[in-house]
Symmetry: none
Subunit: 224 residues, 4 copies
DNA sequence: TATGAATGAGATTTCATTCAT
DNA sequence: TATGAATGAAATCTCATTCAT
């Protein structure tokens, strides 16, 4: 077989072309799902030939994986400063409330995730990005705690994970009913989630009153 | 030719045959996803011919819809008594922690849900069942409140919806990493969720006044 | 093989049932064509099971053949008296002008004819009926000539055949454009055809003036 | 496995390939009819894969339509000069007398026409070509009248239409009985048709005055 | 690099027919 | 007689991928 991985050098022009392509992939997949998005459809929409796609990306699977990668890179790193850690965390979390154009990303993400349940390579890939996201959110939580925006007893990793679970749940909810009304409801639920977090999430593990006091203190400390 | 009349065994009757088929569908779809589950594969696994499937169910879409219906009917109505409302609610919620064999149902559910984002009929179908589930959980919450198992200020519908969102999020999390360790972590998160719920989720909607002492105490402590 | 032609006796009740069935066949085929008319569709429309059809008629081909037979028998033998031969001939010929419900018969006939071009048995069958029709029309022409309704020089067989050709052409024309306007035009063409026939078709073979006179005589004879 | 790369020969180019394919379609359909001509059969006969056909033509319907188009373009425009208008008209009309290889075209045409009775798009297509043909014949009739080859009272459009009807009828007749003997008979009928046309069809539309004595005489005789 | 015609496997679906009841 | 579930072959069409240009 001539499957001897001809490593292609990155050359100028090539990158722009590829980025365009990946954007198309991500659009088409978000609309039709991975299985139903055909290479021809993608090629047509991207205004290249099918041959070109298979030339650049070995096959469909690789193409989709690279598209996820690119999508993540487009979406995630809007990590600017000029905002407090909590504001930034909220910014990311509310990104899960679907609205043009970010819903495309999440639709793609959902398709990819579910598809991953029957393709180990894709799943690993997805987990990799999930972990990155998780640790980033955890860091933000810790910073927010340090700056007194969140109660001090909150564990970064744990709080981040729970928040991620909740936001993923919201996404499922919105995919189930993608109308405006439901989006508003979901936004409210997320606001409540944060309200509870900021006010007092001390109940979570330490049901003893001792810890509770700490929580109260922290609130007062904030009020002071 | 080997056309030596393969004598068909006495047929198991229409209903039995259909139930068998739907079980197979649900297995295959949970493993491969809706698009990747081919009619032939389903037929082979169910040991019928492809013609038989299309004879009973008009087409793939209808088949999958009926499979969901059947799966729901198998899974949901384990609404026994002999348990308190909260126990029963927990029972349902912890059903979202994947473990053989119920994980199959949820994998199927996830595939169906995501698929529904590009098939209005399926989506409607899914929403229908979601609403049923939601109102059932809401009822359980209200009963639990009435019996003092949950804080009095909790709104049935709202609490149920938030819980559903969280459990759906847990499901996504488990599909992303379907190993034992993660399942344990998810179970813990759900336990914490309930702990918080039982103890005091009073921040969310603090509009109620003075019914449950414990809750109120904690509030007062906060106010102090 | 158990293909030992179980000759089924004709029993009361059976005939009515069969007639009903054949009518349905003929309706369905006229709408969809022979290939596209499925046994299931016919069965459903006739409100019997597919098994019943295959029980009565060995297979689809036989079924369609019997349907033509039945259709011919329904359509053709409206050979009453109380009309002059020419009137009756016209009656048959104008039957080729499509209008509910006789158009169904001709649509069926056309499908059958074209289908016959790749099925010798059906073709033979069709030819058989065509010949019957032809000789009947020829007889009517001869009678019309005898009674002075048509010019004396007309040959029965030949005139009938030409008329049949023309009417078949009209049918094709009407299938091509099945609107009212075209039907009217076709009717006019047929009227003209008859006008020419009655007036003087003497030109056809004998271009000499001699025969022409005869023609004139016959007309006068009628007027006298 | 015998997957030993069957080297494809250098491809004959898009247009050549398509023309080849359409010729095959037209052959196969003329033999088996539209419904019975399977894509696979066509593919096999054309020595391409089924994929190739569906790549070039979207689907069977489009394929058949293009085949008719191509067939028309191959058959019709043999409009040379060096012949008088009447000769050319006769040339076209006698084209309806089936004989290799033009019978293929007419078989195809008949199948297409009948099929059109249940497919509006095909029917429209067929009507379009019919109209073209009709206006061309009408023009020839007018030219023939002008040159004195045909009686002056003949209306171009009407005469052409009647002639077309007759020839279509002859085609049906020949499909019904496709043997030599019948072909000869049909040819004779067409000759007679022309003979009558050339001599005097003055009865049809007696609105003209006095040009052709014979015709007028016969009319007067009738009036007397 | 890029193209797009060509491929052939495989997907869904339909169909005439069989046969246990 | 009559039924209708079951069959498996075959039909149409789609798809990822290859490869000569």
């Amino acid at each position: 077989m001539t499957k001897t991985a001809k490593k292609r050098q990155t050359r100028p022009g090539r990158i722009a072309r590829q980025a365009e392509l990946l954007t198309t992939v991500y659009k088409v997949v978000s609309e039709f799902g991975i299985d139903a998005a055909s290479m021809r459809q993608i090629a047509t929409r991207a205004k290249v030939s099918t041959g070109t796609i298979n030339y650049h990306f070995r096959n469909k699977e690789k193409l989709v994986m690279e598209a996820l990668q690119a999508a993540y890179q487009m979406t995630l790193p809007e990590a600017d400063s000029a905002h407090t850690p909590l504001e930034r965390l909220k910014g990311f979390a509310f990104g899960y409330i679907l609205h043009e154009p970010n819903d495309r990303f999440w639709r793609f993400w959902m398709n990819y995730t579910v598809y991953g349940s029957r393709n180990e390579e894709l799943r690993k890939h997805q987990v990799h990005w999930f972990k990155k996201q998780h640790s980033f959110w955890a860091k933000l939580v810790r910073e927010a705690v340090k700056e007194g925006e969140l109660p001090p007893h909150l564990d970064g990793a744990e709080t981040a994970e729970q928040l991620l679970v909740f936001t993923h749940g919201l996404m499922v909810r919105q995919i189930l009913e993608p109308d405006k009304k439901n989006q508003t409801r979901c936004r409210k639920m997320l606001e409540q989630y944060f309200a509870r977090l900021e006010a007092d999430a001390g109940v979570c593990k330490p049901t003893v009153n001792g810890t509770r006091e700490v929580s109260m203190l922290s609130r007062r400390g904030k009020a002071a």
